[in-house]
């Protein structure tokens, strides 16, 4: 090994409209080195890797390979420099077989301009590669018959056959079982011994402890520090990832807030389709904000959808103030005053081609109609009132929702439910992709709703948010409720420990 690192990223900055996603971030990777890239959600890991992978363009900074500056403007450019990205969401084609996936876009051909695929070659070469990765299958197997873990190995195979020198793995173990994870880590070791460099993004800190030569920590789009092999341990990483004070963004949450009479909202033995083996039980008092923390894929959104009735929930008991409810679909949930502000605003929360008025009135149309005919004046008035009440910035209620900013779109989703009298409101990632100003407004709205006696559930992957807004925090890990923290027990370390399953 010489002294020049294989890859150097220096002073990388990326600004999105209204947000600085990366601010002068640097990262270097040596040959055959495993570098863990860690940080909270929104810290800028994905943005940085997408710049390296050629998926997005940087505003500032240089990328050097073997000391020479390079321009990476597309995934194809990245591939030419031996950089391959294995995304968290698998990007294999499950309608094709293993060999076709491995050689996609690099198919060896014969027959001149006819470009016939050299089938003999791709299958024999793919078979060799598959065996090298410890997969006991033929390269003619259709991808759809492989497990997620096997599909992931096929993706690694694709990267290797493309001559990858640096492989970026984004949360590679997030959907793997323990044994599968074990095997993946072994393969990372093998790759390292073949002098392939790995950039390993993971929330699972024990994996990082095990395989990383170095851990680069990002926080709020900046470098927060680097830990060498000997310095890497759980405590240090957590401190570096979260180490900062809560901002003044959060005003309302105080010990023993307004708890009105009645038991509030009770959920017993909730089972989701994704984690049918685990049951989750909890309750939310009137006027309480219960935060739900956990890593992506912990089963929190599935839980929310099951409560709201858009997903099946087996044998779940739901009760409001001691009265048990039967929920077989969103219609039932809505009739009981239980509402969901879903994670995917543009797909599930809104009809983006509808205007603001039509979106707000949609679930409550009967209130603005007589004999099933909509009274336009009443409907418009309700929309205008809602815009005023929660400060939705739009020149007219006739504006297409697609043209509003993220924060204002989210307020439109909320406005839909505020035309009712909510009993329970479930927010799933309420401030994802929203600028700071709008965030603060949404936090105030959440606290105000709680102050009015609503039972509020806030699912959030942002540490700061969940600590700032909640009266209590329930933490989930792979479908299990690993603990509920009281306000006096709140700390980022405590949440992180429960969320990564390092304890309990």
């Amino acid at each position: 090994m010489n002294n020049t690192p294989l890859l150097e990223m220096e002073g990388i900055s990326k600004r999105f409209p209204g947000v600085v996603a990366l601010d002068q971030v640097s990262l270097s990777v040596g040959e055959g080195e495993v570098v863990a890239l860690i940080g909270e959600n929104g810290a800028g890991k994905s943005t940085l890797m997408n710049i390296l992978g050629g998926a997005i363009a940087r505003n500032d900074g240089t990328i050097k390979i073997n000391g020479a500056p390079v321009e990476i403007n597309s995934p194809r450019d990245a591939g030419a420099y031996g950089i391959e990205f294995i995304h968290q969401e698998l990007s294999v084609l499950d309608n094709l077989d293993v060999a076709a996936n491995i050689f996609l876009r690099r198919e060896p051909t014969f027959g001149g301009f006819l470009k016939l695929i050299d089938r003999r070659r791709i299958y024999s070469e793919a078979d060799v590669l598959v065996r090298k990765l410890g997969l006991d299958i033929s390269s003619r197997t259709p991808l759809s018959r492989l497990s997620i873990a096997q599909q992931q190995l096929v993706e690694i195979g694709r990267a290797l056959s493309a001559g990858a020198r640096i492989i970026i793995m984004d949360e590679p173990t997030s959907s793997l079982t323990l044994t599968e994870t074990r095997r993946l880590l072994d393969i990372v070791h093998d790759l390292k011994s073949q002098n392939v460099s790995i950039i390993y993004i993971s929330h699972r800190l024990h994996e990082v402890e095990e395989i990383a030569d170095r851990a680069v920590v990002l926080r709020d789009g900046k470098n927060a520090g680097v830990l060498q092999r000997s310095e890497i341990n759980h405590e240090r990483m957590v401190r570096m990832m979260v180490g900062r004070d809560l901002k003044e963004l959060f005003t309302g949450a105080e010990e023993g807030g307004t708890k009105a009479a009645g038991e509030g909202f009770v959920v017993r033995r909730l089972r989701t389709l994704r984690y049918p083996k685990h049951t989750v039980s909890f309750n939310v008092a009137h006027g309480e904000v219960l935060g739900f923390a956990g890593l992506v894929g912990a089963g929190r959104s599935e839980m929310a959808r099951a409560i709201f009735g858009v997903e099946e929930a087996h044998e779940t008991e739901v009760a409001l103030d001691g009265k048990s409810l039967s929920i077989n679909g969103p219609v039932d949930a809505i009739s009981h005053g239980i509402y969901l502000i879903p994670e995917d605003r543009r797909q599930s929360g809104l009809i983006v081609d509808f205007n603001v008025r039509e979106n707000i009135s949609l679930p409550n149309l009967d209130a603005y109609s007589s004999a099933k005919l909509i009274n336009r004046a009443k409907e418009t008035k309700a929309a205008v009132d809602a815009c005023k009440a929660i400060n939705i910035k739009t020149p007219t209620p006739e504006m297409r929702a697609a043209n509003l900013s993220g924060g204002n779109q989210q307020k439109v989703v909320l406005a839909k439910w505020l035309t009712f009298a909510p009993q329970v409101l479930i927010f799933d990632e309420p401030t994802r992709g929203i600028d700071v100003g709008a965030k603060a407004e949404i936090y105030q709205l959440i606290r105000k709703l709680a102050a009015n006696g609503v039972s509020v559930i806030v699912i959030s992957s942002e540490m700061e948010e969940v600590l700032g807004i909640s009266d209590r925090i329930a933490v989930m890990h792979e479908g299990r409720l690993t603990g509920i923290l009281q306000r006096s027990q709140f700390s980022e370390e405590a949440v992180m420990r429960l969320a990564t399953g390092t304890e309990g």
Binding site: V310, V331, A333, L340, P342, Q347, G349, V352, K372, L373
Partner: protein, 330 residues
């Protein structure tokens, strides 16, 4: 509203050009004839348009009308059903079969194109089978004057099918553009997931829409049967689904769903019939019939696309202006 205006202008322009090139266009008998066709085609086109707004498609309307024509004739001339029973049965058969389409699509998650394509093939086959592939008529059955009047009558000089179309269009206009059902239909067609999250029974809405289409198809089918007065099982209604789809698309319906208007569909249906008439009157070789239609539809839809884009750009500019004003004042 602007959408409809554009295609309405196109319709007027075509009428003016045709009447200049061949003044016979304006003869009362020609206009009556066109209006009768517009009526008969327009009624089922509205039903098909509603289905398209759900994001679905209904390919079986032509075969359905063939089947209904055969059934109607056989019920009246061979089985001697009372007229009113035959009519009700006709409409009921169409609605029940359409309900089947709706259920297959919403409960079994089958693709509308496939379900209704099978309908297209199946109903045509059944029509030919039960009639032994023989052309059917209404012979000398007494008491059909009223039905013949529905198809061929001209009260105050206006053909009855056209009158019926206007009445049906008025009703569906209110339902689609002013009622809760209509709003749910647009929401479901545009984004079924968000519609479900808003508590809309999207499966029910879609199924109901297929049933409505079935009812309107039956009404058109009855008119066509008495208009042609003889039903050839193999040809009656052939390719009519394409006229319906073309009318809906010309009238601003998007095959992606969630978009369209009753007025647009009616003008679209009118435009198609005027085009057919124009080919006739202007001595354009009738072999070019479909080519002319295809070209006009393509141009119409292209223009619509351009208008939509413009309107959206205007709105985005409005948003920018507002944030600029806010930035200034703060």
């Amino acid at each position: 509203m602007k959408k409809e205006l554009g295609i309405f202008v196109l319709l007027i322009v075509l009428c003016v050009i045709t009447s200049i090139l061949n003044p016979n266009f304006l003869l009362a008998i020609n206009l009556q004839n066109i209006a009768r066709q517009i009526g008969a085609f327009g009624i089922f086109s509205i039903g098909l348009g509603l289905v398209i707004i759900t994001g679905g498609i209904e390919l079986s309307v032509g075969s359905m009308m063939g089947l209904l024509g055969v059934l109607l004739s056989m019920m009246l001339t061979e089985w001697h059903f009372p007229i009113i029973i035959a009519l009700v049965a006709c409409i009921a058969v169409s609605m029940v079969l359409s309900l089947g389409h709706g259920l297959l699509i919403t409960r079994l998650n089958m693709q509308p194109f496939i379900v209704t394509l099978c309908g297209l093939l199946f109903y045509r086959g059944i029509a030919r089978f039960i009639s032994h592939d023989e052309t059917k008529g209404f012979g000398t059955v007494a008491g059909l004057d009223f039905l013949r009047f529905l198809a061929n009558g001209n009260p105050l000089g206006i053909p009855m099918p056209f009158v019926l179309l206007i009445v049906i269009a008025a009703i569906t206009w209110v339902v689609l553009h002013r009622s809760v059902y209509g709003r749910y239909l647009f929401a479901t067609g545009r984004n079924p997931e968000a519609a479900r999250y808003a508590g809309i029974n999207t499966k029910g809405i879609v199924t109901l829409t297929y049933v409505i289409c079935g009812a309107l198809t039956a009404i058109s089918g009855i008119i066509f049967a008495f208009y042609t007065n003889s039903v050839s099982p193999a040809n009656h209604g052939n390719a009519y689904e394409l006229y319906g789809i073309a009318a809906a698309v010309l009238g601003g319906c998007s095959l992606r769903g969630g978009e369209g208007s009753v007025i647009g569909i009616v003008i679209g249906a009118a435009l198609l019939q005027v085009l057919r008439n124009l080919v006739n009157l202007l001595d354009i070789p009738s072999s070019l019939d479909f080519a002319v239609m295809g070209a006009v539809i393509l141009i119409g839809v292209m223009a619509d696309q351009i208008f939509t884009e413009r309107r959206n750009r205007r709105q985005i500019a409005m948003m920018r202006e507002m944030s600029a004003r806010e930035a200034q004042s703060s």
